[in-house]
């Protein structure tokens, strides 16, 4: 395994993010840094990656673990290249979320929470993503796919079957360099 270290561009961004908080309050940068780490290190947070983030902020590893395990967007296990997050709460349920989940399960041959054998897709049902007026919906990386039909889901899966990169919530251009 290669050394765990952000690339230079990300490291510069990390320094810029830390400056957003008062002197001595650098721990505030933890959530954004974990997002950057997940995006750069294959879509999940391993213990060594979390230890690295702790070292960047000069905090104890346990302070990182307890945060990473609290928030649902941090993956503490490897996930497929494409993480399909399907909303299932009320408004999406009213407009067919269960059927979307069943369709994906049938198409990919996996259940909720599982990853396909080729490591391409992980299916995860999630709670309300604030897309109730355009339900049913699913999220891949930062992108919301709304007013879903089986055809739209099929097209997305087809599209992602051919991609090699990981789905990401953000990249180095998301946060402003202040």
């Amino acid at each position: 395994m290669s050394e765990i270290k952000f690339n230079d561009e990300t490291l510069a961004l990390v320094q810029s993010i830390i400056k957003r908080y008062p002197e001595g309050k650098q721990k505030s940068a933890l959530l954004p840094l974990l997002h950057l780490a997940q995006a750069e290190f294959d879509g999940w947070l391993s213990a060594p990656v979390m230890d690295y983030v702790a070292s960047l902020l000069n905090i104890k590893p346990i302070e990182v673990y307890e945060v990473a395990s609290f928030y649902s967007m941090y993956n503490l296990k490897p996930v497929g290249k494409c993480l399909l997050e399907v909303c299932r709460t009320s408004s999406c349920w009213l407009r067919g979320a269960n059927e979307i989940v069943a369709h994906i399960e049938n198409k990919l041959g996996i259940k909720d929470g599982e990853t396909t054998a080729d490591g391409k897709f992980t299916l995860k049902t999630v709670e309300c993503l604030g897309s109730c007026g355009t339900a049913p919906m699913l999220q891949i990386g930062a992108d919301f796919h709304e007013n879903l039909t089986f055809e739209k889901v099929d097209a997305l899966i087809n599209d992602w079957s051919n991609k090699t990169e990981h789905s990401k919530y953000l990249d180095n251009s998301t946060f402003r360099k202040n």
């Binding site: 957003r20 008062p22 309050k25 721990k27 505030s28 940068a29 933890l30 959530l31 954004p32 974990l34 997002h35 902020l57 905090i59 302070e63 307890e66 945060v67 609290f70 928030y71 649902s72 967007m73 941090y74 299932r88 709460t89 009320s90 408004s91 349920w93 009213l94 407009r95 067919g96 269960n98 059927e99 979307i100 069943a102 999630v126 709670e127 309300c128 993503l129 604030g130 897309s131 109730c132 007026g133 355009t134 339900a135 999220q139 930062a142 992108d143 919301f144 007013n147 039909t149 089986f150 919530y169 953000l170 251009s173 998301t174 946060f175 402003r176 202040n178």
Partner: protein, 447 residues
């Protein structure tokens, strides 16, 4: 007639850019506030406006601002709550995506009023594409001199930053949000002290919702009295309503407070009636936390008057026959909807989102989900329905933060108004199969 204040220019091409936003009068409130008003005068206008917190609690904004402690030499913070996560609510996302500068302008004017020199917008992490939009808008505002040092040559300095959450409904609770902003788990704090005394980094802090902050702009521009003249009674101004579910036109609508619920559901200007010509069965009017009401109760108060879209009218009758305006997350259900199944999605949600600090909420939300699952699996008993009632009653009022109440109210109201549906599932499990069959077969076919 719809009354557009926040969304007046929503359809103007390019309104998301600083240039077009400026052409439409954007940032006038910053000029007016910084050059011609004292911070106290702005707080006074917001008090006069009658503006109430638009995140769900409805607490008077001017009063909240006036509680802010101002000890000498201690930083004060304004934090915008953009952790929009209440099921059924998507208005803040709409506002930030379409008119990001409306929020940034509101943050500058409000920060000046509160004496904050550093402010944060805490956005739920799932909205990363919105974060990108806000970061671009903030960069443009800095470049144009609306943010940074010595804004408009007045000597006022303000830095504005976006903070990303990472998936936790509880961070919409203001003290949990502050914990999260400090890089910790989102566990709500015990109050007092309130954030106005000891908030972010222990400093005096105001936390306001996106829509609340955006409403400060027209209030400063036109005066508190002008705003107070819009709406009805103590429900002044306009409200963004997120409409979803079985309606013809889901979406975000800006309404003047005081229109009838009936008009909102059936008028073509708003929801456009129930989808597929079905009948209305029930409505959750203010986001998942507020009591669900059957059609006749949401349309008409116990006194036989038409119910209005306002804080007071929606709450009329208390929880026996009323509900709450909440966040304005308006979820409409047609006659085919299983109230028990819908409740199960809510119970699962609150179980998932409980932070785990208080045992009544941590344990109770799990038990409520399990019992509903048991009933929907065809193994429920009449005692289970009573047990559900008992559990919700023991959560309500017994937790540090309002998530416990929010988890209890949907269960209580579903049993209060639809007990027959629970009992039918217990006595005749075949009825559940029919409902599930309906949902499986027909929901997407009619999409």
């Amino acid at each position: 007639m719809s009354k557009k204040i926040l969304l007046e220019h929503i359809d103007v091409p390019g309104i998301e850019t600083l240039a077009v936003y400026r052409e439409k009068g954007g940032y006038a409130s910053v000029e007016k506030a910084l050059k011609t008003m004292t911070p106290d005068a702005i707080v006074e206008e917001v008090k006069k406006s009658g503006l109430r917190g638009r995140g769900g609690a409805g607490f008077p904004t001017g009063m909240k601002w006036s509680f802010l402690a101002k000890p000498e030499g201690v930083a004060r913070y304004l934090v915008c709550n953009a952790d929009e996560s209440e099921p059924g609510t998507f208005k803040d996302r709409y506002l930030m995506e379409k008119i990001p500068h409306a929020l940034i302008e509101g943050m500058i004017t409000s920060s000046f009023a509160l004496g904050a020199n550093t402010s944060y917008i805490y956005v739920r992490g799932e909205y990363f594409y919105i974060i990108k939009i806000l970061e671009k808008a903030i960069a443009d505002a800095y470049a144009a001199g609306w943010l940074g040092k010595n804004i408009l040559g007045t000597g006022y300095d303000l830095d504005l930053y976006v903070q990303a959450g990472a998936g936790a409904y509880i961070c919409g609770e203001e003290t949990a949000l502050l914990e999260s902003l400090e890089g910790k788990r989102g566990n709500p704090r015990i109050k007092p002290p309130f954030p106005a005394i000891a908030g972010l980094y222990g400093c005096p802090t105001v936390v306001n919702n996106v829509e609340t902050i955006a409403a400060v702009v027209p209030i400063v521009n036109n005066g508190g009295d002008w705003y107070a003249g819009i709406g009805i009674g103590k429900s002044t101004g306009t409200k963004l309503i997120s409409a979803s579910g079985h309606i013809n036109k889901p979406g975000v609508y800006e309404i003047e407070m005081g229109i009838t619920v009936e008009d909102f559901i059936y008028s073509d200007e708003y929801c456009g009636g129930i989808k597929n010509g079905k009948k209305l069965k029930a409505v959750v009017a203010g986001g998942s936390s507020v009591p669900i009401l059957p059609a006749e109760m949401i349309l008409t108060t116990a006194n036989g008057e038409k119910r209005l879209m306002s804080y007071e009218s929606l709450a009329d009758g208390g929880f026996a026959t009323g509900t709450m305006l909440g966040s304005g997350g308006f979820i409409v259900m047609d006659e085919t909807t299983s109230i028990v199944q819908n409740l199960h999605t809510f119970a699962r949600f609150y179980h998932h989102e409980s932070c785990g600090q208080c045992s009544p909420c941590r344990e109770g939300t799990g038990w409520m989900e399990k019992i509903l699952h048991k009933i929907l699996d065809g193994h429920g008993t009449l005692e289970d329905v009573d047990l559900l009632w008992e559990i919700q009653r023991k959560i309500e009022g017994n937790t540090i933060c309002p998530l416990g109440d929010a988890a209890a109210w949907p269960v209580a109201s579903a049993i209060r108004h639809f007990r027959h549906e629970f009992e039918e599932y217990v006595k005749n499990p075949a009825a559940i199969k029919d409902v599930k069959h309906y949902h499986n077969m027909h929901k997407l076919a009619t999409a």
